[in-house]
Subunit: 243 residues, 2 copies
DNA sequence: TGAATAGTGTCTTTCAGACAGTATTGG
DNA sequence: CCAATACTGTCTGAAAGACACTATTCA
């Protein structure tokens, strides 16, 4: 896009002012080992970089040469760090201010992604690690304003899980209803009623049984898979009376 | 993060790669003359400007010298065009791509604002006009991707009105319950049950009666005002069973 | 008085909450 | 058999839908 930039400069001259830095960050969630986890990247230790060695959300500058738009930039960052294309990627919001990046006025476009549980969901990159989303204490200090962004992502996820089928995107290809309920409970951090849960999920036309059962130490459970559903289901009520 | 490519471009302290343009746009809603309306600005007729004379959302470039952050930039644009500070301003999302602005890669941070109905809610600026939000047809061609942004704002507003008290911010300082219901119905474009509506609103601890009544050609109605409520109320159910 | 709108009451429906009870496996 | 987990049924309660009914003003 060097062309456009030159054109801009020889126009009425109105574009010759300082531009903020533009970045994209992605909050990537997964459920592993029974807890909600988020992928973080360790920043380079180079002391000339901002926040050296601190943990940060995966992300970085928009590359005007490679990224057609913000969403594809987010997809690229996601793929760089995990090797996968998420079945669910949603815009979370944007954060921009004069002070959030020591290098100058900057604005980031934040996305959040849900990855399906997989037997060996390792962080793809060497500088990447999964961190459990602490239920309160033990908060990590993150680079930039990423702690705030992460907090917003968790809130958004929790809030949407109350009345949508989002957790379906956190499931492996085949799962049982109790599995799904467990994931809801992990994200919401509270137990749900089994009976109401089953009724709602089955009524939602969201999942379909496959011709197999999950065997275990007790009664086998019906396996389901996600229907070829484009978008999440919105329920008319939340799961429990609101706070 | 600095992946390999960015490291190459951006040695320590080097940030000299092309930066996208950064703008903020605001979708400003009001209810006037019984319909939901949105404020649009006519772009300059100068043929060197993009989309000359086209209607656009109020907005513009972030001014790194004046704007401390995105939100204050949005507040500034809102005040420039309407002279008021909205009681409700929410981030809507961001749109960025190589092609949305002919001047080059650009990203806009979109907000939406709700203005209280006022007897003489004129558009403050000369190039500004209120346009009814057409229920379907008669769509205006807007500059940039603003039609898409407006569409998203309307959807977001409608969706949130289903289960929040957002319309309270569209009301004048004092209003009756039937007034409020009318605004809900205008935004949702469908009738609501009076009885359920009243019950819900009065239970929400959102409004309080003032010591006056609205007189009219028929039975007077109790006037209410918004309680000093910081944030909108979220209801546990939507108003009607979903489609 | 009647028209018009505000506001209430009552019955029904829907669906979650609670929880007991049945079903089906392995040991 | 028992333990464990999957799944179903039944009762209750809260809140919405439907709609009739009462209340209060003006003309």
């Amino acid at each position: 896009m060097a062309d456009n930039r030159e054109k801009a400069l020889d126009g009425p001259g109105r574009l010759d002012f300082p531009r903020p830095l533009t970045t994209v960050d992605v909050v990537i969630f997964i459920v592993r080992e029974g807890v909600l986890q988020v992928l973080l990247i360790q920043r380079p230790t180079d002391e000339n970089e901002p926040f050296p060695a601190a943990w940060a959300l995966p992300g970085g500058f928009v590359d005007t040469g490679r990224d057609a738009d913000l969403q594809s930039c987010a997809v690229r960052k996601l793929k760089d760090k995990t090797g996968v294309v998420s079945p669910y990627l949603e815009q979370l919001g944007s954060w921009g201010s004069a002070t959030r990046d020591p290098r100058g006025w900057s604005a980031t476009h934040a996305y959040f992604a849900l990855l399906p549980a997989a037997p060996l969901a390792s962080a793809g990159a060497a500088d990447a690690r999964w961190f459990p989303v602490g239920t309160g204490k033990g908060k990590l200090k993150l680079a930039f304003d990423h702690a705030e962004i992460l907090e917003a992502a968790i809130q958004r996820l929790r809030s949407k899980v109350e009345y949508t089928s989002l957790p379906a995107y956190l499931m492996p290809p085949e799962f049982t209803l109790p599995d799904l309920q467990r994931v809801y409970e992990i994200v919401l951090d509270r137990p749900l009623e089994k009976s109401a849960f089953r009724t709602r999920m089955l009524a939602a036309d969201l999942i379909e049984p496959v011709a197999r059962m999950r065997k275990g130490p007790s009664r086998p459970a019906q396996l389901y898979r996600l229907k070829k559903t484009k978008s999440p289901i919105y329920f008319a009520r939340t799961f429990n009376p609101p706070t």
